[in-house]
């Protein structure tokens, strides 16, 4: 029989869905800023494998000549990005949700397992949890990346007033490179995230909107049969809601 299982607390759903448009607009306005000095490329010497970004990309998305607008948007939205991220971290710390999110000593091995399984190189499915090892590493890393973006962002926004920070990050040019690479990291994260969400299906996606999943349980024992069975040590929120009747 099926039961409703709580998965994502309301606060985390809000943080997630606020972050999505805010970070998207941060990246987009960041492109408008980057365009004014688009010096990065992949390559060596005179060989360029890929230029960030090709002229065709700028033209297709009208990225050009929007530096002032980009700066204005970026330095307004940074507050939303910062406050939302700060509240998220505080919430996970206080609520105990961090226990699901922080990688532990098994996470790396499990992340390898998950990756091999997802790539079709290994047959045994990894144990289903609220967040598996790969997710724990990814969701913690992306928070650290956010912190990195904030720090490198401040370092290039106010490189004299926060000169100590800029110097600590290797100087103005270095901080700008790190800021850019972190942004590429979000794009990679986004692509993998979307692919995994599509794979995981509707039950999983609905949980980040409505908060719950529907799981199959054994009517006699109430044990979940086809869902997250091995919970992290502190796991309580994935317990099925006992049927009331």
């Amino acid at each position: 029989m099926k039961v409703v299982v709580e998965k994502h607390p309301l606060a985390i759903r809000w943080f997630h869905w606020i972050n999505f448009p805010v970070l998207s607009l941060m990246i987009w306005s960041g492109l408008w800023i980057y365009w004014a000095n688009d010096v990065y490329r992949l390559g060596w010497g005179n060989t360029t494998l890929f230029k960030f970004f090709p002229q065709s990309f700028y033209q297709a998305f009208h990225v050009d000549h929007k530096l002032a607008q980009g700066m204005a948007w970026h330095f307004v939205l940074m507050w939303a990005f910062f406050l939302n991220g700060l509240l998220y971290v505080l919430y996970t710390a206080v609520s105990g949700q961090w226990r699901y999110l922080l990688p532990d000593r098994h996470s790396l091995r499990q992340a390898v397992h998950v990756t091999l399984y997802d790539l079709g190189l290994r047959r045994t499915p990894p144990p289903v949890q609220k967040y598996n090892g790969a997710q724990k590493i990814a969701y913690t890393a992306v928070i650290l990346m956010g912190l990195g973006s904030l720090l490198t962002g401040v370092a290039i926004y106010k490189p004299v007033q926060f000169g100590w920070l800029t110097q600590a990050l290797g100087g103005y040019e270095s901080a700008r490179v790190i800021h850019f690479v972190l942004t590429l990291g979000y794009v990679v994260f986004f692509v993998i995230h979307i692919a995994q969400v599509v794979r995981a299906g509707w039950n999983n996606f609905r949980a980040i909107v409505a908060g719950f999943e529907i799981e199959e349980v054994n009517p006699a024992t109430q044990a979940i049969v086809a869902g997250p069975t091995s919970l992290p040590a502190a796991g309580a929120s994935l317990r099925p809601t006992p049927p009331t009747a």
């Binding site: 004299v160 006699a220 049969v225």
Partner: protein, 289 residues
């Protein structure tokens, strides 16, 4: 590789088979139907809520972007920029210096922008006009008079608002030394003896304009009196070239390159923010970074 058929069911399969073999009691089946019905309603509500929140966010952002224009930017966006600037300026001690570098790290300065450098210009007859805050007639200064003041040299990083930067060596006269020697920045006509504590009747802002009045920048008085704000006449050990703003240009490593006005024509003082060429195009007015 051919998969070997499993002789033993996996634990998960075993659990599923066991569950399937256990029929729910009628009470459980009724509870299941009720729970699934409630879940459907909750799901609908949540998706609707997300849609409404998204719409509200979009409308809110649109509202911000359509507040009345304030010099090329929606007013509320400019307010946030000003707020950011005030916050970080208050954090920053005014006497603190921008990082300085070894003289040997200086590199040629990229040419970027020639607004205000009109062709109709005679270096030989150039003077810098300064309109005193007290309201007297503008005074004119020759390059020799400026150079007679104490020479200050520094190697600092010039950062363009476009995102590039270069370390360069400057030589010139501190604007604060100029205003200590020539009492033009106060209403009463007293000199600014201590740049860290200007007299109460000193102007709040300084305006600098090219001779052709095509390019103009504004500075807060505190940044104008900063020890690294120069009326510069040399770049990397050579007198300024025409392209770099001969004979005298403004240099302030506290601010973006856009504030490093080339070819100073007139300096004036004000209690309100003076016009600023790039701020009018939608950039942050202060240019502090």
């Amino acid at each position: 590789m051919q998969e070997q058929p499993n002789t033993q069911p996996s634990p998960a399969d075993a659990r599923q088979q066991e569950a399937a073999a256990t029929p729910p009691t009628p009470a459980q089946a009724a509870a299941e139907q009720a729970a699934l019905g409630a879940a459907r309603a909750r799901s609908r509500r949540s998706f609707l809520g997300l849609g409404v929140a998204g719409l509200a966010g979009w409308l809110g952002w649109r509202y911000l972007l359509h507040t009345p224009d304030d010099e090329g930017l929606p007013r509320d966006l400019r307010r946030v920029l000003d707020f950011n600037g005030k916050l970080t300026k208050d954090y920053y001690e005014r006497t603190r210096l921008a990082p300085e570098f070894a003289h040997g790290q200086a590199r040629p300065l990229r040419l970027n922008g020639n607004v205000g450098l009109g062709k109709d210009f005679d270096l030989a007859t150039w003077t810098m006009k300064v309109q005193g805050f007290g309201g007297s007639a503008p005074q004119e200064f020759t390059l020799e008079q400026v150079k007679a003041l104490p020479r200050t040299e520094m190697t600092t990083e010039l950062k363009c608002i476009e995102g590039w930067s270069v370390v360069v060596h400057w030589a010139g006269v501190r604007l604060s030394d100029f205003l200590a020697r020539y009492p033009l920045a106060t209403r009463s006509g007293q000199p600014v003896a201590d740049p860290a504590n200007p007299p109460a009747d000193a102007a709040k802002y300084v305006s600098v304009v090219t001779p052709d009045e095509e390019y103009y920048v504004g500075l807060e008085m505190w940044s104008a009196l900063h020890p690294q704000t120069l009326l510069a006449y040399e770049l990397n050990g050579q007198p300024l070239t025409q392209e770099h703003g001969a004979p005298l240009r403004l240099v302030t490593p506290l601010k973006y390159g856009v504030k490093h006005l080339k070819r100073i024509g007139t300096i004036a003082f004000a209690d309100e923010r003076p016009a600023d060429y790039w701020a009018e195009q939608g950039y942050d007015w202060s240019g502090n970074h």
